[in-house]
């Protein structure tokens, strides 16, 4: 069941009505209902994976209690490793087994050894990377005594499987989400209205921009050899906006949906394409994953406390692991590595925390320096996305070589370029809206204070019409595959 499907448009109001009208403010009933709804939501993909989700939840619930009850450090560590090994084991089998096996076999064949490995013909359970990380954060926080264990299985299950975040995040922390689950949720009018607005904005990003950009990005990436360098640049730009609007659109819908149920999720995007350097970009892109890696990998590895070389080593580890988290393909590893290289100068010169505030705060337009910094960062990001989008590293290099062919400065052309012009125009308009809304949680958040109701409603109707008008074939969200 996708967020942009008719099924979800029926499912959400049904759950919403049941949640607020039948539970009578009893948080146990609310949690029970959310759990059933979440399992139904997940089961709509493939009911067989419900067992995996259930087992993973049960394991972390049980080991969590055991870690807390362990009388000595050795036992604590034992339970921690049991949970980490089993969780990462599942992830490894479902997501990485075939990749490692084929890479190993290719490596051996280069040395002249022929091997036969058995590939696993299994589907990747949707959202496994996300709920595994949820569970791990809970277990690690327990081990570090940051939280107390949750002893009610239903409450804990809602923390892991709350349907808005189940399949593609944001990757929540027990310290943030569990306290909300453990208290009674009262209906809050402004929160619900804001949630609806965020859902609408997310749908606009996904259906109007991402799905339409996807069509042109696919056309160009799939036939890049036949197109000029400038057309391939356009293809990379289409993908740049596709991936941003796809994932941030998903996050907006998830956050908005959660708010309808009185729950605030972690923010996942903060206008990353307005970043002035790559370090800032990573503080604004997929924030819940970046901070997860920072808290549970970078800092345990020593963070930035052990001198320059350690800092560089840790940064590279973080980015390579982060790339690998996205998928079992060398393209993601190279993408991660490239981002580590981008960030390297700011680590060496200790400038990675230069841009902590919002660009051009309190001003309409950025300064020239800020503008150039934003454009430079954007170009680096677009270049890195080529590796993310390509089906192989060789394919990515081929695409780049086609960009830097003699036809880079010609007029771009591909079949359907005429049809793409309205989307290019809407994307530019979208960037303007994002720019003026960059101080908010999401671009449309501040609309209520600035505009009167008729104007606001006209805008909402316009967005809804655009969603219907530009809706193509229902497309899956990119991050569902991770």
């Amino acid at each position: 069941m996708l967020f942009n499907s008719l099924d979800f448009a029926i499912f959400l109001p049904v759950v919403f009505i049941l949640y607020w009208f039948t539970t009578k403010g009893n948080y146990r009933l609310q949690n029970f209902l959310l759990l059933i709804a979440s399992y139904f939501f997940y089961g709509c993909w493939d009911w067989r994976f419900l067992f995996l989700l259930f087992f993973s939840t049960l394991l972390d619930f049980y080991t969590g209690i055991k870690i807390h009850e362990a009388t000595n450090q050795k036992n604590k560590l034992l339970w921690l490793w049991l949970s980490v090994t089993v969780n990462l084991g599942f992830l490894g089998i479902f997501k990485y087994y075939n990749f490692f096996a084929t890479s190993f076999a290719s490596g051996l064949s280069l040395l002249g050894f022929q091997t036969n490995f058995t590939s696993l013909q299994v589907l990747l359970p949707v959202g496994i990377s996300f709920y595994t990380f949820h569970g791990l954060s809970y277990i690690i926080d327990l081990y570090k005594n940051r939280i107390a264990p949750e002893r009610n299985f239903v409450n804990y299950s809602v923390f892991v499987s709350f349907f808005p975040l189940l399949v593609a995040g944001p990757i929540e922390r027990a310290t943030h989400l569990l306290p909300q689950i453990l208290k009674k949720r009262e209906f809050d009018y402004s929160k619900a209205v804001d949630g609806m607005r965020q859902i609408l904005w997310g749908l606009f990003k996904k259906i109007v921009i991402a799905d339409n950009c996807a069509e042109y990005a696919n056309t160009i990436f799939n036939n890049s050899e036949g197109y000029s360098g400038s057309t391939n640049v356009l293809g990379a730009l289409f993908f740049t906006f596709q991936i941003y609007c796809d994932f941030s659109g998903y996050s907006d819908i998830a956050l908005g949906t959660a708010r309808l149920f009185g729950i605030d999720l972690l923010r996942n995007f903060a206008f990353p394409y307005f970043s002035r350097d790559v370090a800032e970009f990573w503080r604004r892109w997929h924030i819940s994953l970046s901070s997860w890696f920072k808290d549970y990998l970078y800092i345990p590895l020593g963070g930035s406390k052990g001198g320059l070389w350690l800092k560089i080593r840790n940064t590279f580890i973080i980015f390579i692991v982060s790339g690998f988290w996205h998928g079992a393909n060398w393209t993601f590893v190279v993408w991660g590595l490239l981002n580590a290289l981008y960030i390297l100068p700011s680590i060496v010169f200790n400038t990675n925390r230069n841009n902590l505030d919002i660009v051009a705060n309190g001003k309409y337009l950025p300064s020239l320096k800020e503008l150039f910094a934003m454009i430079f960062t954007f170009v680096l990001t677009v270049f890195a996305w080529i590796f993310f989008r390509a089906s192989s590293v060789r394919g990515a290099f081929r695409y780049i070589s086609e960009i830097f062919s003699g036809s880079l400065f010609t007029t771009p052309y591909f079949p359907g370029i005429g049809r793409s012009l309205p989307i290019i125009f809407i994307t530019c308009l979208f960037l303007i809206v994002e720019w003026f809304g960059r101080t908010n949680q999401y671009a449309m958040e501040g609309i209520e204070a600035k505009l009167n109701r008729p104007t606001r409603w006209t805008i909402y109707y316009g967005i809804i019409l655009a969603i219907f008008y530009f809706a193509g074939k229902e497309q899956q969200f990119i991050y569902f595959q991770f």
Binding site: Y189, V193, W457, F468, Y469, F470, A471
Partner: protein, 325 residues
């Protein structure tokens, strides 16, 4: 909560009203042929119904597979072919009602491929405007639930047809009296190339005719109603399920495609037994031995040579059926 519900309702009402207006039915269009290609062909052929006996209609598998000249020779009856690509039974019936309802001596031979009853076959060109017009609002939403923009596109087309019918402006039709030198038959030369297994599997799994196959839904009900309307016209009709190449059959045997075709044949056979003036020939299940794979330009369409043999065969079957009546 109450305030939220009221605001939501206030917001939704104008939108729902506007949307309902946009998605409204246009009963006036029930009497129109919502297929400009078919209308253009009928006008271009300059048909004199007083001298005409047989009308061949339907989709590309009549347009490119049945030669009126062969029927003229083999039956002695004046024949014309008005079939066009993607033309389903619903559209054919609306054309018959509009243009030939009073011609009692006419006989109709209509090709009816299985895609026209499949609720999942809604790719461009596989759901006619006539069929769309006959779908209920719920039916439209269910069929297009994953393709809402296409639903809007179809509704816009319907709205344009409504405007045309109200204003009476049909000047946009392109009439060319030289377009059909073979009485409406369009022959295609050549033969298909055998593909490797993986390309064939890709083709089969993405085939628009069998997408999300569901033969018992809204479109089947509309197909049944079209048969009832044909009965009311009371002219002798032959409906046939066209033949396919043996290469196609051997590669799809027992697959979802084969099951869909067999299911369709079985259902149409059962349904048509209710009507005295309609006969059904199933050439999917009953092979015509004379048609080998060299007579197909693609897996499901006969080339000119195949069309010649098939026309002769069907003309013979027609005479047997006609004389028997």
């Amino acid at each position: 909560m109450k305030r939220f519900a009221i605001q939501l309702l206030k917001f939704a009402i104008p939108f729902v009203l506007l949307f309902s207006l946009f998605l409204s039915d246009f009963p006036v269009l029930n009497y129109e042929i919502l297929n400009s290609e078919l209308e253009e062909k009928i006008i271009s052929l300059k048909i004199d119904t007083s001298r005409l006996n047989i009308i061949i209609a339907g989709d590309s598998r009549a347009e490119r597979q049945l030669m009126p000249a062969i029927f003229n020779t083999n039956t002695g009856l004046s024949t014309i072919n008005i079939a066009t690509t993607g033309c389903d039974l619903v559209t054919v019936v609306s054309a018959i009602k509009k243009k030939y309802a009073d011609s009692a001596k006419l006989c109709f031979i209509i090709s009816a491929s299985s895609w026209q009853v499949n609720d999942g076959a809604i790719d461009h060109g596989y759901l006619s405007l006539n069929c769309f017009q006959k779908l209920s609002k719920i039916g439209k939403f269910i069929l297009y639930k994953k393709y809402l923009s296409e639903l809007l596109g179809m509704q816009v087309q319907l709205f344009k047809e409504f405007v045309h019918s109200v204003v009476g402006n049909r000047n946009c039709l392109r009439i060319d009296s030289n377009a059909y030198p073979e009485l409406g038959f369009i022959g295609i030369e050549g033969r298909f190339k055998v593909q490797d297994k993986s390309s064939l599997n890709t083709l089969l799994s993405n085939h628009s005719w069998y997408k999300n196959n569901s033969n018992s839904g809204f479109r089947w009900a509309i197909f049944q109603n079209s048969l009832k309307e044909l009965e009311k016209i009371n002219a002798p009709c032959i409906i046939y399920q066209p033949p396919v190449s043996s290469y196609w059959k051997s590669n799809t045997e027992n697959s979802f495609i084969d099951i869909a075709e067999m299911d369709y044949s079985r259902k149409v056979t059962m349904e048509i037994q209710k009507y005295k003036n309609i006969v059904f020939f199933d050439f999917y299940s009953n092979d015509i031995r004379e048609l080998d794979d060299s007579m197909y330009y693609d897996y499901q369409h006969l080339n000119r040579q195949g069309a010649e043999i098939f026309s002769g065969f069907l003309a013979k079957k027609f005479m047997e059926s006609y004389e028997c009546r």
